[in-house]
Subunit: 211 residues, 2 copies
Amino acid sequence: MDPRPSYDEKLLGILRASAAVFADKGYDRASIRDIAQATGVSLSGLYYYVSSKEELLFLIQDHCFGTLHHRLEELLVEVTDPGERVRVFIRNHLRFFLANQAEMKVLSHEADALSGEFAEQILRRKRSYARAAQEILEGIAPPDAVESRTATFALFGMMNWIYTWHREDVDPGADALSERITHLFLNGYLTPPPPERPGVTDGSAPSIWRS
Amino acid sequence: MDPRPSYDEKLLGILRASAAVFADKGYDRASIRDIAQATGVSLSGLYYYVSSKEELLFLIQDHCFGTLHHRLEELLVEVTDPGERVRVFIRNHLRFFLANQAEMKVLSHEADALSGEFAEQILRRKRSYARAAQEILEGIAPPDAVESRTATFALFGMMNWIYTWHREDVDPGADALSERITHLFLNGYLTPPPPERPGVTDGSAPSIWRS
DNA sequence: TTGGCGATCGAACGATCGTCCGAAACGCCC
DNA sequence: GGGCGTTTCGGACGATCGTTCGATCGCCAA
């Protein structure tokens, strides 16, 4: 391919290959030696590009999250209709999610693996993105709607859970999936609650474990 | 408390304490030494109750999943109305989830950590539970509804994602949360699609990373 | 040709991990 | 009180981990 890849291109290649390994084996079970083999670089050669395994995970998550949020803001600039903004948000998230499954799985699944300043930066990114999502949803919130925080994370759950079950050969692709999830969420969120929220019909106290 | 705990009671205590440690630090980052300390048993003393760390994880997942599914079937025996069966399913799942957060986080988050026969047994349990859920949803599926497989996992996503964001002091409790999620999902799933599914308004091909 | 610098590598180190072994302590029945 | 099965423990072993160090390679400028 590229006969003379630059330093940055090589780093991006390492990030991509590492994300695939992390997604496949999990961050902790994947050894630096696994990653070296997947990238075609020697074990110690990796440390020329990255100063630690944790920084490697951070770079994957930071780069992935930055791109996801950046693309969303680019798209939203020219969309003012509140309902359409929700649709654009869901479609952007799912398209990116399915086109970068390895990175997004690592981002969703290995959130607790970082510590210190690494963890804080990713946490800031996450909060910023979640706040943007919540504000988008509040743009269409009817009176008496479900709490916007609950609704936001319910929507994130629908979308971020996908990596655990989606199979390319039997399940809808990104755009069809966006339609389905937009349909499910939007009609649920926009439908007003019944006149009085019904109490729990089964009043038994929740005893927990099987006796 | 119990002055003379039996073997089984001690094992359950070990499972409970281990689940808390696994949920907090993650399966791989939690060492057997951490678990020994949390259980109050010595390092080698653990191996009198459990033959390996992997079996410990398996016992937690198997016991938790078995109880969850067992309780669901008990409740469903006396419920025939299709809509009410969906409500009972969601309420049972969420009540159990929030009452056993540590175990359910381990079950949701450490699915790939098992191997061999351990992994296969948990996979069978998971498939069985998911099939039950899908059949419950198919009981209320209107014509032209979202594919039941997609709807099932979207619902699971809403529910199983909770451990990543739910905070007891600001978010609704189990029963209120069940109401919200039942409302969101049911109205989404039961609402018929518009006469023709609208095409994607933004026809741009999804280029992936920031240039 | 040579000097120098970016890039790469093999080999090793210390730490931590899961697991195992032999002995000691405990509780119960004859 | 003596003997025996159950339960518990300290200490160690081998494997694997992330990381480091010093040497070497390749390429361009002088």
